[in-house]
Amino acid sequence: MMRAFVTALFLLLLGASANAERLIVSVSNHRVTVTPNYSGEELVLFGSVEKDAATPTDRTAYDLVVTVMGPRADMVTRRRERKFGIWINTDYRQFLQVPSYLALFANRPFEAITSPEIARRQQIGLNNVLLTQRVSGDYADVVPNDAFRSAFTRLRTQRGLYREDASAVTFLTPTLFRTGIPLPAEVPIGTYEVEIKLFANGAFIGKTETAFEIVKVGFEQFVATTARQNGLVYGLVTAAMALMTGWMASIVFRKD
């Protein structure tokens, strides 16, 4: 089974290189700096599909799926239930090394671009992206309609950190395309991988990758980093700050 899959994948890749469309892409900014008053931003991804002699002449319409993945992290989803009259956390699932930011963009609905099998294999659509869970010692992704998985994607989507937009990619000419990558205010810092997958007539014919980086700068970031890396120094400084404030107040408001 596994071997058959690998062979199929290999043939597919081989096919892609034989077809020889080349994807050339670039993001508008490879290093996004988040300042304290940052309230979200949009990056732009440009690209073009380069044909060469090997390209079948009848192939004119292309479809694109752009996947943006932020730094990976372990997350826990908990469910509250009513017990003894109050709402308490009862059950939980651990999601292992899932992207903290995930965006899927296409030029038309995912189901119109390719078949469900290829969509699953190429992880096209939020329902098909691999989100590994730890289920009683086992590691696996579950069906998309699993309560914890759907709650997880729903909550991430509410915060603007997971998104799916099947009309975000626009073709300026039949081979030139662009898409916006919205980054919300609470965007996680780190390296973002961008994967651009090319489809024609429902078949996957090639992909390319690029990346950008999000760095936070300024006093707030300095505070956050210090708190995480030098807990002791941070605690001492905070304690000293508390004493200073208290002492100054007792001087300013002295009633003698």
Binding site: P36, S100, A242, T245, W247
Partner: protein
């Protein structure tokens, strides 16, 4: 003016937090308490996670109790011997509290425990204070004399010690135990514990009113400083920016509160404080009973790479 809180990971309005600090400071100055039991819930209600709220309020209480303690020290209203014995228990209790806090957080039950502790503690203390205030008020109406204080079982315990400035002769066992309890609940709930400690010291230990508030402030100061340190080292949850805004608002509000408090009679003050504590407890109880908007929550366990 929006400001991004680095640890709470949340943009807040500076003036809102400053006003909250001042309002709580006013109340705390009026009643002579730290105000943590009001500050922590308020922060939770504006969307800061209970864990960050508890850890950050600790440093805020340290600031306000330090300015209070300095004033009492100048007036020689602190009993150093009593304070040191209390601290032996307080520091132990705080360490235990922060350890429990970390364990509960890993289990995902921290928010529930914080809410439950608030409900139980605040409704009990609130009702006791309220009914006591009511009785005292009726007594003064009728013109009766308050019942004479008598010694109780606590004064029969061994390991007695003389506390000179408070002019009491008392076993160290209840003092250390009270220190442990206050330190423990303080670290878990983000409160200084002054509003519980002062009545306990007056009614159970018979500490004279001249030294009770100053001495309890020393305990609050040291346990809260210690809690700040431990929360910073173990859980990385202390938001210094948030704490600073709260401190500035708090110490300012406290000065005006103290002046306002002098104009109100003692029994009425206790009645009001009891009502206030009780309502915070009820607010938490309601929160627990009604169905939450979303049954699911996500927590990140740390970003890698």
């Amino acid at each position: 003016m929006q400001l991004y809180l680095p640890i709470a990971d949340l943009p807040v309005n500076v003036f809102l937090v400053l006003a909250m600090g001042a309002a709580v400071g006013f109340v705390s100055g009026m009643f002579g308490i730290g105000g943590g039991f009001l500050m922590t819930p308020l922060l939770i209600f504006i969307g800061i996670t209970p864990a960050v709220a508890v850890a950050s309020v600790a440093s805020h209480i340290a600031a306000s109790s330090f300015s209070g303690a300095l004033t009492y020290w100048r007036r020689r209203a602190i009993d150093p011997a009593l304070a040191s014995v209390l601290l032996c228990g307080g520091v132990t209790g705080t360490a235990l509290g922060v350890w429990t806090f970390t364990q509960l957080r890993a289990l995902g039950q921290l928010d529930l425990m914080i809410a439950l502790s608030y409900v139980v503690l605040l409704s009990t203390v609130g009702s006791l204070m309220f009914s006591e205030g009511l009785r005292a008020l009726m007594r003064t109406r009728r013109g009766a004399v308050p019942p004479r204080r008598t010694h109780n079982w606590i004064h029969g315990l061994p390991l007695k010690m003389r506390f000179k400035r408070s002019k009491i002769y008392l076993s160290v066992i209840p003092v250390v135990v009270i220190g442990i309890v206050i330190g423990f609940i303080g670290a878990i709930m983000g409160i200084g514990g002054g509003f519980i400690l002062v009545p306990i010291m007056i009614y159970l230990l018979r500490v004279p009113t001249s030294t009770v508030v100053g001495t309890s402030m020393v305990l609050t100061l040291v346990t809260m400083l210690f809690a700040t340190m431990l929360h910073a080292v173990t859980n990385h949850l202390v938001d210094a920016v948030l704490a600073l805004i709260l401190m500035v608002g708090g110490v300012t509000g406290a000065q005006f509160g103290a002046r306002a408090g002098q104009k109100i009679r003692g029994e009425q003050l206790r009645l009001l404080l009891g009502l206030l504590i009780l309502s915070v407890g009820v607010r938490f109880a309601v929160e627990l009973v009604i169905r939450p908007e979303d049954l699911f929550t996500i927590r990140e366990l740390g970003v890698s790479g």
